[in-house]
């Protein structure tokens, strides 16, 4: 019987050198859902995506995708599993020496023996799905930031993967591109039966499209729930994050010695 959970992360710890980035994280992503992983910069969100993609291995715990534990796979096994995944990098990571068409055709040419006519049709279908069929012959340098991300999305779904990961898909986009990208993620997840993992700190845009949210802070999951749960949460960290408050559990001031001491007014009352 097929497991309902496409991604399962159990008690995962990971660090760079002595600095522990993830401290016992548990997370699951159900098939067919859009899952958001939110948190402030540097909290370990992208590290989670890299663990799921098998680019890094956890120090402790297990990461399973489609029932396979990534820790036990060799490079061949990992590459086999990655054909079921697509990833959209923060700035698209399009191949700058290839046209939009060739970028989207890349995986089809590398992993299939399809004739060029069939590849052409598939590429145009994927580009049509993201609204950029007319930009097929453009080069990445001619695209706006939002267009580049939509091309990267078309490339990520070229082989119709089971899982698509989005690393900050809303960063630096104008309001129109923001809405278009959010709608595309939701629509493609539903129509293609994908599971989407969205790493973001854009609360308002992502809460419109997600089924479930995980909040990460300092390497642990501090809150989770549906979009409505998160909007109504009275947890101080979530409240500060959702409402964009300058001060709270995440302090405005970086840790520093007392202000009066720094100004040489140690003898006076601050």
């Amino acid at each position: 019987m097929q497991n309902d959970n496409l991604v399962e992360i159990e008690d995962v710890e990971f660090g760079y050198g002595d600095r522990l980035v993830l401290k016992g994280v548990n997370l699951t992503a159900k098939r067919g859902q859009v899952i958001a992983i939110m948190g402030s910069s540097g909290c370990g969100k992208t590290t989670l995506l890299r663990l799921i993609g098998g680019q890094i291995k956890p120090g402790q715990g297990q990461v399973r995708v489609a029932g396979e534990s990534l820790g036990h796979l060799n490079q061949k096994g990992l590459y086999r599993l990655r054909r079921k995944m697509g990833m959209l990098f923060q700035f698209g990571a399009l191949f700058t020496d290839m046209s939009v068409f060739d970028n989207v055709a890349f995986q089809l040419r590398e992993h299939t023996d399809l004739p060029e006519d069939a590849i052409r049709d598939l590429v145009l279908m994927k580009l049509h799905a993201v609204g950029l069929r007319g930009a097929a012959q453009m080069m990445p340098s001619e695209l706006s930031g939002g267009m580049a991300r939509r091309v990267a999305l078309a490339r990520a779904i070229a082989l119709e993967p089971a899982l698509v990961m989005f690393d900050e898909p809303f960063a630096g986009l104008d309001p129109i591109s923001l809405g278009v990208t959010g709608n595309l993620i939701r629509r493609l997840t539903d129509t293609l039966g994908l599971t989407s993992l969205v790493v973001t700190h854009d609360v308002q845009e992502s809460l419109k499209i997600v089924d479930y949210v995980y909040f990460v802070s300092e390497g642990v999951i501090v809150a989770e729930g549906t979009a409505d749960d998160i909007r109504g949460s009275d947890l101080p960290y979530v409240h500060q994050f959702v409402h964009g408050e300058a001060d709270g559990p995440v302090p405005f001031h970086y840790p520093a010695p007392p202000y009066a001491d720094d100004l040489g007014l140690g003898g006076l009352r601050a």
Partner: protein, 262 residues
Amino acid sequence: MLKQSIENLGNRTLEGVWRIGYATRFFVLILLHSGTAFRRFGLTIREIYFSGVLSLIIILVSGLFVGMVLGLQGYETLQTFGSEEALGILVALSLVRELGPVVAALLFASRAGSAITAEIGLMKATEQLSAMEMMAVDPIARVVAPRFWAGVISMPLLAALFSAMGIFGGYLVGVQLIGVDEGLFWSQMRSSVDFEQDIMNGVIKSVVFGIAITAIALYEGYDAPPTAEGVSGATTRTVVASSLAVLALDFVLTAFMFRGLN
């Protein structure tokens, strides 16, 4: 103070050993993943165009001028001994044995080596290599190995063209400008330049230089920190390290190839 100096020396030594090990592993990986570069030779041909064909202008023009200077300087020296008819031998041997492979390699390191490092470094900085890995395509096989073999194939061809243009430059100055006998110029060259000892040794040298330059350029690009400063530093290191490697390897190869040769 002394303890600190010893610690620094130790750290630098360990880092150096680590880098040598990492570079060796990288080189072995390139060789192991070279299948794609030959199975899909179109990928390698494309890189031969970027590394080799686009280096033609600098190689041909430099070769012509080096040959012309050799013609002038050689004539000046040879005429003192009344043997200016040996100008063809001097120009040809200087070029095919030494100047062709070495100068072409130095120019290749500056033109193509730096370009390879910058390209790979920027692909890394813009996450193109990570994207490729996430698409289950090995960047060493798809990006690195074709560039490596393109460099190895291009280098001897460029060195041969450099030497040919140099000889033509020597002919222009020696025969057409100064008036050395044309028949003697070519016949002496033909009788004194040995295919195996001179030309093939020059080809072997340029193949070795091609391997060294391209491997260094690819390693520096692949290992570059993913920042603008990191890529610029890696590009500089490529030119410096590969130029020094060419000169050092040239000495070693010359010592083996031409020792005791008449």
